[in-house]
């Protein structure tokens, strides 16, 4: 079976075809680039549907010989064999579906990108391969490999197609995530060195089967395992990101082109959550217990910190950036709860936030395109000129603040439910974040869509940025045009998904149940 390889590498076809398209043929590039994201989408949905019908995902596992680092005589035959291994379970599957969906939508939304479209799509597709690979890998080395593909692709996408301070944002991204990755690499190296394998299942076996203790190439003490887990969590905390490692996220959110942020906020941040669950809980369940409190604490800090800072921002992208910080805190809260509800909540929150932030940034892209600015102080009363857009924006805000019936609620609710079992007092403090979420999202969105349309000159005087000159102000070209057919499609799909998940979360919860149960068994609870 090559199913997973096909799934992960199918955008490669698009990359190859794009190479032969003339740089100037933008329509063709847009079309081809979007079409290239469709095969993984179809395959992912197919797998999703089939697994819903009872297909066993293990049957998709793939393994191929890749490299054997050494065959020293005192080692067993299996030691230091790194294979090309892909394999998914319910947990990976939901993330893969999320990735595939958002990639297609981001490709659609990329019609607003006008410069050097060819290179843009090449890297966007590379990014998709990386993301799909991260969630499909069944082996630490390949996980890391795909992770770094996303790192490079994002660096280029942000640095080349971003806003004014794009290079700085790209470096921020690179360095923070590079440090996270480097730490992760050390952990991977330790695990690989001492167990002789990088396969998740084998690692799990080696770490937890007392009989396998003897097969370890070098001992892994309890103390050592705690350090390893600490390293893992720290590495993924940078990717998530947890306060105080969040500064890169703000820059990337603000500077990157909106379709890229759709993928970044939608999927890449979730790698942090995925990693913590897959490796943190999956490989070190016993040790994870001792970190649960810290995680929950950081989760609450994230929630409140992000929300309180989002309150002060007057630039829509920054509001959304800090809200991402806040929402990722909810993921940490779920993980810190360390019970079924919490873990499931963390995953649901990841997916939900993926959809919601994608929607938000899709709209931000349209807004920036139409009005030339996303500064809240310079906007107002948009409902009059752009009723449809405003409706979508309001929906995004409501989803962001966790309105029941929309996806955001499901994640937040389940995560908090989890924490209320284990640490009710902490959870109650964190719940304040829900109030702040309502304040910042409504404040931002209502200031844009409600009220009087802003007089531009007044806005400039009122603006706190002295460098804002009338010339830099976005002058709507002619009349302001509402969301149009092609742009509305991704927005509509996202809203539909958000509503679907919000109304019937079992859609996502069903594939997760088995995984969560396995993890809870590992946790011995």
């Amino acid at each position: 079976m090559m199913f997973l390889s096909l799934l992960v590498f199918s955008p490669l076809l698009g990359i190859v075809l794009l190479m032969f398209v003339r740089k100037t043929d933008e329509r063709m590039i847009q079309w081809l680039g979007t079409a290239a994201t469709v095969p993984p989408l179809i395959l992912a949905l197919f797998a999703f549907v089939q697994s819903g019908r009872g297909f066993r995902l293990e049957r998709l596992d793939e393994a191929r010989d890749w490299v054997r680092l050494t065959d020293l005589p005192f080692l067993t035959d299996a030691a230091y064999v790194i294979r090309y291994e892909l394999g998914i379970d319910g947990l990976s599957l939901v993330f893969i579906v999320l990735t595939a969906v958002l990639a297609t939508l981001a490709a659609l939304a990329s019609m607003l990108v006008k410069t050097e479209k060819k290179g843009y799509f090449l890297w966007l597709l590379a990014l998709e391969i990386g993301m799909l690979g991260v969630f499909s890998a069944a082996n630490f080395v390949w996980f890391f490999l795909f992770l770094e593909v996303t790192l490079v692709a994002m660096f280029l996408l942000v640095g080349k197609w971003g806003g004014l301070e794009r290079e700085r944002a790209a470096y921020s991204y690179l360095l923070y995530n590079g440090l996270g990755s480097a730490l992760l690499l050390v952990v991977i190296a330790v695990l690989l060195a001492r167990t002789g394998t990088a396969n998740f299942a084998l690692l799990h076996e080696m770490l937890h089967n007392p009989a396998a203790e003897g097969q370890l190439i070098a001992p892994l003490t309890a103390e050592g395992r705690r350090w390893l887990l600490g390293g893992l969590l720290l590495a993924f905390a940078v990717k998530l990101p947890a306060v105080p490692f969040h500064r890169w996220l703000i820059r990337v959110h603000v500077e990157a082109p909106p379709p890229v942020v759709m993928l970044h906020a939608g999927v890449l941040l979730k790698i942090g959550a995925y990693g913590m669950i897959r490796f943190g809980i999956g490989l070190f369940p016993d040790e994870f217990r001792s970190f649960a409190g810290v995680l929950a604490l950081f989760g609450v800090i994230n929630v409140l910190y992000g929300a309180l800072l989002a309150l002060r921002q007057r630039e829509l992208k920054r509001v959304l950036a800090y809200s991402s910080v806040s929402h990722m805190g909810v993921v940490l809260i779920g993980l810190g709860a360390l019970n079924e509800a919490g873990i499931q909540g963390a995953v649901l929150q990841s997916i939900a936030h993926g959809l919601i932030s994608s929607l938000s940034f899709l709209l931000v892209g349209v807004l920036a395109h139409r009005m030339g600015t996303t500064d809240i102080n310079r906007l107002g009363g948009l409902t009059k000129a752009m009723p449809l857009f405003s409706g979508y924006l309001l929906t995004a805000a409501l989803a962001l603040l966790g309105l029941p019936g929309l996806a955001g609620f499901v994640g937040e609710f389940t995560s908090f439910l989890g924490l209320f079992q284990t640490k009710p007092a902490l959870a109650a403090v964190g719940a304040l974040g829900l109030i702040f979420a309502a304040v910042y999202s409504l404040k931002a969105v209502l200031d844009i869509t409600f009220g009087r349309p802003r007089d531009r000159r007044e806005a400039v005087v009122g603006s706190r940025e002295p460098q804002a000159s009338a010339a830099s102000l976005g002058e709507p070209q002619g009349g302001v045009v509402d969301l149009q057919g092609k742009e509305a499609v991704p927005a509509f799909i996202l809203v539909a998904l958000i509503v679907a998940v919000g109304v019937y979360p079992q859609l996502l919860a069903a594939p997760l149940t088995a995984v969560v149960k396995t993890m809870m068994n590992g946790l011995g609870g």
Binding site: V67, D71, L72, F144, L147, G178
Partner: protein, 497 residues
């Protein structure tokens, strides 16, 4: 005398090939009229190196053996490292073939055969079984290198580089020789195996330790590691690009050959004061660890400030030497494996980078990193190849650099206790190195160009670039290729005599 004539001289076939080629080229260079282009000579030299490589490869299945009273050893270690050295040499000679400095290239013939002599030195070093051969081959390499550095006779920078190289090289030679003299004094023999055996009975720990430190410092000159790294940036910058590539790759490999042959063979089982009385080498591990850490930090940090590409790569090569030294400092069973793998990969990605820099220097006469701006627009494939080499140097997965680095990491943490601090330093300096590697990528892909578009890559350079790029990609995505080869060396089980 009988021994000499009854020896199995075929074991030295690669050396003979290189030597014969060098002498032939020397004679031809003298004989040919000055109007004739010396470019074919460089191609011939490259072919000779490639031929020697094939000869070496053909000998892989052979049993380990030694001739000439165990002064010349042909063990797995020798074969393996000779292959790397020859690969680096052949590729560097391709760069020589296309060497075209602004003032003209009247000494290309010399360039080719001097590089062959240096290569011969490096090869001999890999096969040395005796202090004396080790010393002589080291000097053959060094003295030839001094000349290579100064080959641009009319360029002040090249002259200065040669002078600095000679002075520092001389001091290093003296220090190392001083250490050798103590080792000889304690054992009364120059055979490496013999020294190791006799040292087990000696009880002069202080003198021995002093000898060790002297040798270590002396070797660090060739490795360009702290504290003897400072010459490298100046010499790399001043030397002609093919020579720089040669120093960065072949000399460095030779340095690690020297490190392993000399320090490991002699001191692995020598008694010591200190933590590990059974092995002086192990008790000196902390020193090497600290030096490795400092080398990584200094190399990657100072590189941040460089604008000259050659100088930047000099610091980058110092950092890489630090990674290699870290792999050595771990002293795990993966040590030689990981060093060989890293050096192989390092050869490919570095020569690839230098080939492109050589082209830029040929075309623009400058090696400022501005020369890279907007390369993507005019020469997308060239830019992509350089991007690949840079990513590999940065250790990004999907390239060979990652696999090599991973192997070093594994070596660092597999021992008990693991070298976690060193691993952390390596991880952090790797991230710091992202800044300057990605800065070059930014120049390549993001910035608009101000300079005239570069011309097409000449045949020699494109051969080198294609070979290196394919190698970097192949080892990155299918590392099995390289590791299967490594497996055939039997993990250098016959390394210690």
């Amino acid at each position: 005398m009988n021994d000499v004539w009854q020896s199995d001289w075929s074991m030295m076939a690669p050396e003979w090939i290189v030597l014969a080629a060098a002498i032939t080229l020397l004679v031809m260079d003298l004989a040919l009229p000055s109007s004739r282009s010396r470019r074919p000579l460089a191609w011939g030299a490259a072919a000779a190196a490639a031929l020697a490589m094939i000869a070496t490869a053909a000998m892989i299945p052979a049993e380990s053996a030694s001739i000439l009273h165990d002064t010349f050893r042909l063990d797995a270690f020798a074969k393996a490292f000779k292959l790397v050295v020859l690969a680096g040499g052949a590729l560097a000679l391709l760069l020589v073939a296309e060497w075209a400095p602004k003032e003209g290239s009247p000494h290309r013939g010399e360039f080719a055969y001097m590089m062959l002599f240096a290569l011969l030195g490096a090869m001999m070093m890999a096969s040395s079984g005796d202090l004396l051969t080790l010393f002589v081959s080291l000097e053959l390499l060094s003295v030839s290198s001094y000349i290579l550095a100064g080959l641009r006779k009319t360029a002040p920078a090249s002259n200065e580089a040669a002078l600095k190289y000679v002075i520092n090289g001389g001091i290093a030679t003296a220090i190392m020789l001083f250490g050798m003299s103590y080792v000889f004094g304690l054992t009364g023999t120059t055979n490496l195996g013999g020294i190791a055996r006799r040292l087990q009975e000696t009880n002069e720990p202080y003198m021995l330790a002093l000898a060790f430190l002297l040798l270590l410092i002396g070797v660090s000159f060739k490795l360009a590691t702290v504290p003897f790294h400072m010459w490298a940036p100046d010499v790399y910058e001043g030397a002609p690009v093919p020579a720089t590539a040669f120093f960065a790759v072949v000399s460095k490999t030779a340095g690690f050959v020297l490190l392993l042959r000399l320090l490991v063979t002699i001191f692995a089982a020598a008694p010591a004061e200190g933590r590990d009385p059974s092995s002086l080498l192990l008790s000196m591990q902390p020193v090497i660890t600290v030096l490795a850490g400092l080398t990584m930090i200094i190399g990657s940090v100072v590189a941040l400030r460089q604008r000259s590409l050659k100088r930047l790569l000099a610091y980058s090569s110092i950092a890489h030497a630090g990674y290699l030294l870290a792999g050595f400092a771990a002293m795990s069973w993966a040590m030689i494996d990981s060093l060989w793998m890293y050096l192989l990969v390092y050869t490919l990605m570095n020569i690839g980078t230098f080939a492109i820099i050589a082209h830029i220097v040929n075309e623009t006469g400058s090696d400022d990193l501005d020369g890279l701006t907007g390369l993507y627009r005019h020469r997308p494939l060239l830019a992509a190849a350089l991007g690949l080499f840079l990513l590999s140097l940065a250790g990004i997965p999907g390239t060979a650099g990652f696999i090599a680095k991973l192997h070093i990491f594994i070596g660092l943490v597999v021992t008990e206790p693991g070298h976690y601090v060193l691993a952390a330093v390596m991880a952090i300096t790797t991230v710091i190195s992202y800044v300057y590697y990605f800065n070059l990528i930014v120049q390549l892909f993001f910035r608009p160009t101000f300079t005239a578009p570069l011309g097409r890559l000449p045949a020699g350079l494109s051969t080198a670039v294609i070979f290196c790029a394919l190698g970097t990609l192949a080892i990155g995505w299918a590392p099995g290729l390289a590791y299967d080869m490594l497996a055939r060396f039997g993990h250098f089980g016959d390394f210690l005599p």
